[in-house]
Symmetry: C2
Subunit: 361 residues, 2 copies
Amino acid sequence: MKVHNFSAGPSILPKEVLQESAKSTLQLKNIGMSILEISHRSIDFLNIINEAKTLTKELLDIPNTHEVLFLQGGASLQFYMSALNFCGKHKCSGFLDTGIWAKKAINEAKKVSKTIKIGSSSDKNYSYIPKNISFNEDFDYIHLTSNNTIYGTQIHSFDFINKHIKTEKLICDMSSDIFSRRIDIKNFDLIYAGAQKNLGPAGTTLIIIKKDSLTNKEDRPTYLDYRTHINKESLFNTPPVFSIYVSLLTLRWINKNGGIINIEKKNIEKSNALYNEIDRNSLFFGLVEKDDRSIMNATFDLYDQNLKRKFEELCNKERISGINGHRTTGGFRASMYNALEKESVNKLIEVMQTLENKNKK
Amino acid sequence: MKVHNFSAGPSILPKEVLQESAKSTLQLKNIGMSILEISHRSIDFLNIINEAKTLTKELLDIPNTHEVLFLQGGASLQFYMSALNFCGKHKCSGFLDTGIWAKKAINEAKKVSKTIKIGSSSDKNYSYIPKNISFNEDFDYIHLTSNNTIYGTQIHSFDFINKHIKTEKLICDMSSDIFSRRIDIKNFDLIYAGAQKNLGPAGTTLIIIKKDSLTNKEDRPTYLDYRTHINKESLFNTPPVFSIYVSLLTLRWINKNGGIINIEKKNIEKSNALYNEIDRNSLFFGLVEKDDRSIMNATFDLYDQNLKRKFEELCNKERISGINGHRTTGGFRASMYNALEKESVNKLIEVMQTLENKNKK
């Protein structure tokens, strides 16, 4: 019986990606060796990483001014690394505080420079994206988190930043919504994203960086300097070969399925269907402001907490997995990453309706 | 036809490890999800990482004073991270310069403190381990590279360090020989090792750290502070789930095959066989001093460079893969990690003998 995997990440991957990954774990093409056994300097791996970079550039329409890197350490290492590399003459960086991940980024940046919160939704447990912001400070960069998995909020348009803030550089943690929708890459100097949502398994971190944005000439730890990896084309040291390989397979899958435009369309359809049910169903309510609802992670709860166990039992019966909310928000969270099929969303809606029918007043 | 994989790393893994990895890439046990899709907070993954830690402790006989971590970024990130965490009151660290990897470690440590080379074999292209060392400096720590893949040298006994140097702490990069032989862990404050030789696929870095060795109270970047990972038991952020899982399978394989004592015995047998042939065969010579020969990576060359192509052709015909020497040393390098079977070493010896028979003077 099929599992409907709504896990927030690491999360569901396309079935054909898993099948091809399994095959290559036994033997890559006809070379007599597993993808786990080949040298990262071999022609086989060079072809893999080069195709992964090219496909990333094509799918996201990345201009030539930007480079694509595959590193390690996740967004958690990027919090510090981005600050270290982008701290400039103003010694001041601005952050949009949209929750735990933004706060973690702020804490690491504090070790490098002054930080200012240009906006925060902490007053309402991060249930919205603060947009009325205006500052006269000169910032080295502004840092955003495009999608907030824990709360289920998402920045749908980035226009409000450039209009009201004096900054030359824009950094965005897109860990949980990269490849889920169209993004105008040229507006960003640095985008980073752990692979484990829409790209591949945990173990690699995608970096999209504007090549001429690193003007600072400071001597930095070699691994933590983006210039190292730009110069060595992500092969400064042994890269996470398998994670990059599975990412390539996922990129091929996105490409074959009509690219980002089509993926975005499907994601909007899936999330609309679930949000419509949350709003329609008399037992449930959404946890965040409607304008800022994430197309990736829908958060919701029951009016009557006494129904919680019943709902969970119904979900278990239908093998709906991973919909418990984060411990800081409670309630439920349905993560609908690219590889989650509409059928799984429909199943969840069905269960919500069953609960309603059994508990109508 | 079987490939004899002598690659220096990423390198050969046991066949049954690859088979089980492939199975779990399709579906982990009977949970209906792939190992690539499960949450790192799920009970399934917690069982995996805990068993991997326990088996590491058992196999290497690690005392309770030490902790085992699985991080990311490879030895290259450890070069800086170890210096950052272990720099102490003397602001001076000592390094045994045994080649490129040691020099890279020195370069990163220079960003943190004064560094002194307590010995170097650069005078003879790193073809031996410098052992006559004596210094009166007070060091925060001494840093060693136990096995030097590029040159084929290995530190067989660590006694010479403690006898002649005043240091309270000992750090060792064991990337290419951990799990290949018995090591007295209690003598080390920090051991680090990229997984991609004897442990698993590229993508995770094993850390063995003495818990009370970090006395320095400085505020460090969170990811780069070992205390973060000790406190969070390697789950500070999303770990490289798959790499840790495959490492666990390899640890089970080592355990099933008689543990480190037996693995060491086999490694000595394999390397003895090859070194005996190098010394016996009139066409070949070894590149390093006999006492310092590595049981993992044997480096050798032909007296007559005109035979190089013939030898390579014979190797290709027998599907012997990955024996070209590093570009800085030339010649040949046969890496004989744990998973390489004696049969493959025998095949290489056979080819060396065939070459000799065809080219006897």
